[in-house]
C-alpha cells in the first residue's frame, strides 16, 4: 500500500471526476459534430463511458487499505448501534463481563500459582534434592534430609551450582515490646545464594556465619521488616533477642520470597550452624540446589544416585542398614505448588462453562435483534452491501460487545482477587503471586475475542445462511419480518436455551457434589468431640529451658496447673502435637513380630501427651486406661496406641493391652496400657492413621528430635472470648512473663484448615453454579418472552375464538418445560462424563451420584417453571381486541 496515495486519495478522486467529465465533453462534442442533437449526444457519450461512479470507486479503492478503512467504518457503526439500544447492550455486556470475569479471575489464580515460574532468576534450575525411601513395607515419597547428607553431597556433587538445606521453626522474640512468636526459617549457607536473588538490604550469610559458635546473625523477611521496623533501612546492624540469644540483623529478604509451605510466611531467616559431629539421625530438613547451567533434573538425579552409596557407606552403621533410599530430584516449583495444580485446573474448567453459558445467552439476544434489524439489513443488502460486508459489520458489533465486557471483567477480576487474597486461604500457595499480569490480560483478550466470534457467528449463520432468503424482496414478502425468521430461527433459539440449561446443570451438579463432599466431611467422626470448645495455646519455650528437660517438664506442669484453674475450664492437658498437626514419624517395632534381616517395620505417627489429653479431646479410651502423672514423672515405659494401630498390629483391641513395642531401632520396650479411639490426624478426608501416644517425659527417647514446645489444650465453653484469652495470658505470665504465645486457636479451627481445599472449591463452584442458574433462567425467560411478543396476534385470535387463558398459559409453559427437559437430559449425560474429572476433590460421594443429579435437575426444573410462567401469564393476559386492532 502506498501511504502517499492513500492520503491524497480524495484529491485524486476529484481529479478523476474532472477527467471523466472531460471525456464526456470531448465525446459529446464529437457526436454533435457527427450530427446528433446535444442531449442525445450527451446520453450516448455516457453510455459509451459506463457508470462513472463505479469507475471512480474502482480507482479510489486502488488507493486505500479497504479492509482497514472498512473496519473503522464498522467500528463507528457498531458503536452507534450499541448506543441506540442501551438495554440490549448493557444486558449483553454485563452477561459477558460476568462470564469473562469469572474465567479470568480463575485463570489469574492458575497463572499465579501453577503457570508462572517462581520469582527467581532461571528458576527452572532450582530443584529439591530428596530421596524416596522404602521402609519395610512402606514406601515414602520424601525421606527427609540430614546434615550428613548435606556434607557428603556438598563435597561430592558434580551438578549443583549452589546447595543448601532448610527447615521451618518457631522462635521467640523478646525485647521489642510484648514477647512475640516468630516463624523462623533455618537455612545453611548455600540456600539463599541458590535462589539467585540479592538481599533487599545488607548481605546473605557468609560461610563463617554458618559455623557453629560463630557470632549470631539473622536476616529479616520483607514483611516482618515492614511490620516491626516500618521498613527502616537502619535496621541493619541492630541486635535483637531471639530465643534469649542476641542476634545481629545483617540483611533483609526481597519482598518475593516463596517457600514450599503454603500459609507459612517466615519472619526471620537464621543460619543453621550445623555441627557435623552430632550423630547422623537428624532427619529434619529439606534440601534445595541450583543446578549448573545446562544440567537437567535427570542428570542431577543420576548424580545423587552416584553419591548415595558414599553417604550410606559412611553412615550405614548407624541404624541405616535396612534403609533403601532412591534418588528423587524434582523441580522446586513442584514442591511449592504441591497438588493444588490439578484442583485449580478442574475449577478453571468448571468456571469456563459459565462463559459458554454467557455466550449462549448473548447469542440468543443477538438472534432476537437480528430479527428486529431485518429492515436495516435488507436495505443495506439492497443498496449493494455484500454478504461479507454485512457479516463483517455484525462481527465487529459482537467483538465490540465482548471487548467492552472484557474491560468491565478486568475490574471484576481485580475485585475478586482482592477478596481472595484478603481471605488468604492457607491452602493456596503463592498467594501473593496472584495478580493481573500481561499473560492474564492476553488470556482475557483471547477468550473475549473467541467468545465474540462464537456468539457473533451463530446469528449470522442462522439469519443469513445459505438457506435464508435474505433479500429486500423476501423481507417485504415476510410482512416486515426477516424472511428467514420463523421456524429456523426459533429452532436455533431453542437450541441455545437447551445448551444453556445443559451447561447450567453441569455446574449445578458439580457444586452439588462439592456440597455433598462438604456434608460428608462434616459428618465424619474426627475422633474428638465439640472441637469448638477446645482451646489450644503453645507458649514458645526458650532454648535455655529446653536444654534442661527436668525444668521444662516442671514449667509445663506449673502452667497446666494454672490453666486448669481458670474459671470455666473443665479439663486441661498438653501434647507436643495437636490433632491435625501430624506428629513425628518413627519406626515402631512390635515385640511379637519378627522381621527378616534388612527389613524394617513401617513408620508410625508418635505423639507425646500429658495425662488427661483424651478426656479433654473427649476421645474414647476403648481398652485399658490413660497414663497417669506418676508414669510421666517416673519415666515408666508405658504407651497408649490408637485403635487402628492395635487392629493393624495385633488384630485385636482388648488383646493389645500388655503387648510391648519399641520406638525407633534403639531404646527399651514400652508396654501398651491403653487403646484409644482413632483421630483423623491427616485431615477429615484421610483415613485415621495408626498413632502411638507416649507420656511427654523428660528423656528424649526418639533420637535427637528437635526440641518442640508443647501445646496446651483446654476444654471450656468460654473459648474465643477476650476474657478467656486474657485469663490464659495471665496464667502463663504468672509462671514466666517472657513466654510468647503461639497457636492460640481452637481445635475446630485446625479442623477447618484441614477442610480448606474442599471449602475453597465449594465456594468457587457454588458461585459458578449460582450464576449459571441465574443465566439459565434469564435464557429461558428471554426466549419465551420473545415468543409471547411475536405470537401476540395468534394468541389474540385464539383468545377471541374462545381459548381459555389457562390453555394459552399452558402452551407457553409447556414449551419452556420441554426445552429445559431436553437441556436437563443433555446436561445429565455431559455431567456424567465430566464429573469424573473432579473425583479427586470428592469425599464419600461418587462422581455420578444419583441424589445430587436429581437435586440439581429438580432445582433447574423449578427455576425453569418460574422462568416460563411469567411470560406465559403475560400471554394469557393479552387483550384480543387490542391486539387485533393493533395489527
Amino acid at each position: 500500500m502506498n501511504w502517499r496515495r492513500f492520503i491524497q486519495r480524495t484529491q485524486t478522486d476529484a481529479e478523476q471526476e474532472q477527467e471523466l467529465e472531460s471525456y464526456l465533453e470531448i465525446t459529446t462534442d464529437e457526436y454533435i459534430a457527427r450530427g446528433m442533437a446535444p442531449d442525445e449526444a450527451r446520453r450516448a457519450a455516457r453510455r459509451k463511458l459506463g457508470n462513472p461512479t463505479r469507475i471512480r470507486e474502482e480507482i479510489y479503492q486502488m488507493n486505500t487499505a479497504t479492509f482497514v478503512e472498512g473496519t473503522f467504518q464498522d467500528l463507528r457503526n457498531a458503536a452507534r448501534m450499541l448506543r441506540l439500544n442501551p438495554a440490549f447492550s448493557i444486558t449483553a455486556i454485563l452477561t459477558l463481563a460476568l462470564g469473562i470475569g469469572a474465567t479470568t479471575a480463575m485463570f489469574s489464580v492458575v497463572n499465579g500459582v501453577v503457570i508462572k515460574p517462581l520469582p527467581y532468576p532461571d528458576s527452572d534450575a532450582l530443584v529439591t534434592v530428596t530421596h524416596s525411601a522404602v521402609f519395610g513395607n512402606v514406601r515414602g515419597r520424601d525421606f527427609p534430609f540430614s546434615p550428613q547428607m548435606l556434607a557428603v553431597y556438598l563435597a561430592n556433587n558434580q551438578t549443583f551450582q549452589q546447595f543448601g538445606m532448610w527447615r521451618p521453626d518457631f522462635a521467640a522474640i523478646t525485647g521489642l515490646g510484648d514477647p512475640e512468636r516468630a516463624i523462623a526459617f533455618l537455612v545453611t549457607q548455600g540456600f539463599l545464594p541458590a535462589l539467585g536473588v540479592q538481599p533487599a538490604l545488607g548481605r546473605w550469610f557468609s560461610p563463617a556465619d554458618d559455623q557453629p559458635g560463630a557470632p549470631e546473625t539473622m536476616i529479616l523477611s520483607d514483611g516482618y521488616w515492614h511490620r516491626r521496623f516500618g521498613g527502616d533501612p537502619r535496621v541493619i546492624g541492630r541486635i535483637i533477642t531471639v530465643d534469649s540469644r542476641l542476634r545481629q540483623v545483617i540483611g533483609v529478604m526481597p519482598a518475593r520470597f516463596i517457600i514450599p509451605i503454603p500459609g507459612l510466611a517466615p519472619d526471620l531467616i537464621l543460619p543453621l550452624q550445623i555441627n557435623l559431629a552430632q550423630p547422623p539421625g537428624d532427619f529434619n530438613y529439606r534440601a534445595l540446589a541450583r543446578l549448573k547451567p545446562g544440567v537437567t533434573a535427570p542428570q542431577a538425579n543420576a548424580d545423587v544416585g552416584r553419591m548415595l552409596p558414599i553417604y550410606l557407606g559412611r553412615y550405614a552403621g548407624h541404624r541405616m542398614d535396612a534403609l533403601h533410599l532412591l534418588p528423587a530430584v524434582r523441580a522446586f516449583k513442584e514442591d511449592v505448588v504441591g497438588d493444588v495444580g490439578q484442583v485449580l485446573w478442574v475449577l478453571l474448567g468448571s468456571i469456563s462453562i459459565l462463559l459458554l453459558i454467557a455466550c449462549a445467552n448473548v447469542a440468543n439476544l443477538l438472534l432476537v435483534r437480528a430479527q428486529d434489524r431485518g429492515q436495516e439489513l435488507a436495505v443495506r443488502a439492497a443498496l449493494g452491501a455484500s454478504w461479507g460486508h454485512i457479516a463483517r459489520s455484525l462481527i465487529v458489533e459482537s467483538l465490540m460487545l465482548s471487548l467492552l465486557g472484557a474491560l468491565i471483567s478486568v475490574g471484576l477480576t481485580y475485585g475478586g482477587l482482592q477478596v481472595l487474597v484478603a481471605r488468604g486461604p492457607a491452602y493456596l500457595p503463592r498467594l501473593t503471586e496472584i495478580t493481573i499480569d500481561s499473560s492474564v490480560l492476553a488470556f482475557t483478550l483471547a477468550i473475549s475475542v473467541v467468545s465474540g466470534l462464537l456468539f457473533g457467528l451463530i446469528p449470522i449463520v442462522k439469519v443469513m445462511g445459505p438457506k435464508s432468503a435474505w433479500t429486500l424482496a423476501g423481507f417485504v414478502r415476510g410482512g416486515g419480518r426477516w424472511a428467514s425468521g420463523g421456524k429456523s430461527q426459533h429452532r436455533s433459539q431453542d437450541a441455545l436455551v437447551v445448551v444453556q440449561v445443559a451447561l447450567a446443570l453441569v455446574l449445578l451438579v458439580s457444586s452439588g457434589l462439592m456440597i455433598r463432599t462438604f456434608q460428608n466431611l462434616r459428618r465424619v467422626d474426627p475422633g474428638f468431640a465439640h472441637p469448638e470448645e477446645i482451646q489450644t495455646v503453645r507458649p514458645v519455650m526458650p532454648p535455655g529451658l529446653i536444654a534442661h528437660p527436668d525444668r521444662l517438664v516442671r514449667t509445663e506442669a506449673q502452667i497446666l496447673e494454672r490453666l486448669a484453674a481458670i474459671p470455666g475450664v473443665t479439663s486441661a492437658a498438653y501434647t507436643n502435637s495437636l490433632p491435625m498437626d501430624r506428629g513425628i514419624a518413627v519406626i515402631v517395632y512390635p515385640e511379637s513380630k519378627t522381621y527378616a534381616a534388612g527389613e524394617l517395620p513401617p513408620t508410625r505417627t508418635v505423639k507425646m501427651i500429658s495425662p488427661g489429653l483424651f478426656r479433654t479431646l473427649q476421645t474414647r479410651v476403648i481398652a485399658g486406661r490413660d497414663v497417669d502423672w506418676a508414669e510421666l514423672y517416673n519415666e515408666r515405659n508405658v504407651v497408649l496406641v490408637s485403635e487402628s494401630f492395635a487392629r493393624e498390629t495385633w488384630d485385636t483391641v482388648a488383646g493389645a493391652i500388655g503387648k510391648r513395642i519399641k520406638l525407633g531401632t534403639t531404646g527399651s520396650w514400652q508396654e501398651v496400657i491403653g487403646v484409644v479411639g482413632d483421630i483423623r490426624d491427616n485431615g477429615a478426608d484421610q483415613k485415621a492413621p495408626p498413632i502411638v501416644y507416649c507420656p511427654a517425659r523428660e528423656q528424649q527417647m526418639i533420637g535427637p528430635v528437635s526440641p518442640v514446645s508443647v501445646a496446651f489444650t483446654l476444654r471450656s465453653n468460654r473459648t474465643g472470648t477476650e476474657g478467656f484469652l486474657s485469663d490464659i495470658r495471665k496464667a502463663v505470665a504468672a509462671v514466666d512473663p517472657n513466654l510468647p504465645l503461639a497457636s492460640i486457636n481452637t481445635v475446630a479451627a485446625l479442623y477447618e484448615i484441614s477442610m480448606e481445599r474442599t471449602s475453597f472449591s465449594l465456594v468457587l463452584l457454588g458461585i459458578a453454579g449460582g450464576l449459571a442458574l441465574l443465566l439459565g433462567i434469564v435464557g429461558i425467560y428471554g426466549v419465551l418472552a420473545y415468543a409471547v411478543m411475536q405470537r401476540q396476534r395468534e394468541v389474540g385470535i385464539r383468545l377471541a375464538l374462545g381459548a381459555q387463558p389457562g390453555t394459552v398459559k399452558g402452551m407457553f409453559v409447556y414449551r419452556g418445560m420441554i426445552l429445559s427437559g431436553i437441556g436437563i437430559a443433555l446436561g445429565m449425560a455431559v455431567a456424567a462424563g465430566l464429573t469424573r474429572l473432579m473425583s479427586s476433590l470428592l469425599f464419600g460421594v461418587r462422581p455420578v451420584d444419583a441424589a445430587t443429579f436429581a437435586a440439581a435437575a429438580g432445582v433447574l426444573v423449578v427455576a425453569a417453571l418460574a422462568a416460563s410462567y411469567i411470560p406465559a401469564r403475560r400471554a394469557a393476559a393479552v387483550d384480543p381486541v387490542d391486539t387485533l386492532r393493533g395489527q
Binding site: 502506498n2 496515495r5 481529479e15 478523476q16 474532472q18 477527467e19 471523466l20 472531460s22 471525456y23 465533453e25 470531448i26 465525446t27 462534442d29 459509451k48 463511458l49 459506463g50 457508470n51 462513472p52 463505479r54 469507475i55 474502482e58 480507482i59 486502488m62
Partner: protein
C-alpha cells in the same frame, strides 16, 4: 479482451505521442479495425494503474476542440515495459498458433 492485454495496448498507443483517454480508446478501437471494443470506462482504472506503476505520466492540456483534458505520455520505464510485454506477447502468439495449426497440418 484478454486479461492484461489492455495495458500493453495502451502503452503501444502512447508510443506515437501523448494522448488523452478518449483518444487512446478510439485509437485502440480503430487500430484493431473495431475488432477490439474497449469499454471506455474500463480504460481509466487501467490508466491509473499504469501511472501508479510509473510506466506512464500525465499532465493537463487542451484538446483539439479546446476542452481541458488529461494527457498521458510514455515514460522511459514504460517504453522498456512495452518492449518486454511485446516480446512476451509475440512468443505467446507463436506458441498458440503452433498448437492451433501445426506445421504438419500446413503441409497437407
Amino acid at each position: 479482451m484478454l486479461q492484461g492485454t489492455l495495458d500493453m495496448l495502451v502503452l503501444r498507443t502512447l508510443v506515437l505521442g501523448p494522448a488523452h483517454g478518449q483518444t487512446i480508446a478510439h485509437a485502440i478501437e480503430r487500430g484493431s479495425q473495431d475488432v477490439l471494443q474497449v469499454e471506455h470506462g474500463s480504460l481509466y482504472p487501467a490508466l491509473h494503474r499504469l501511472q501508479n506503476r510509473g510506466w506512464i505520466a500525465s499532465f493537463w492540456g487542451t484538446s483539439e476542440n479546446n476542452r481541458k483534458a488529461k494527457y498521458y505520455r510514455l515514460t522511459p520505464e514504460g517504453r522498456k515495459q512495452l518492449a518486454a510485454q511485446k516480446s512476451r506477447w509475440e512468443q505467446l502468439v507463436r506458441a498458440i498458433s503452433r498448437i492451433m495449426s501445426p506445421p504438419s497440418e500446413q503441409k497437407q
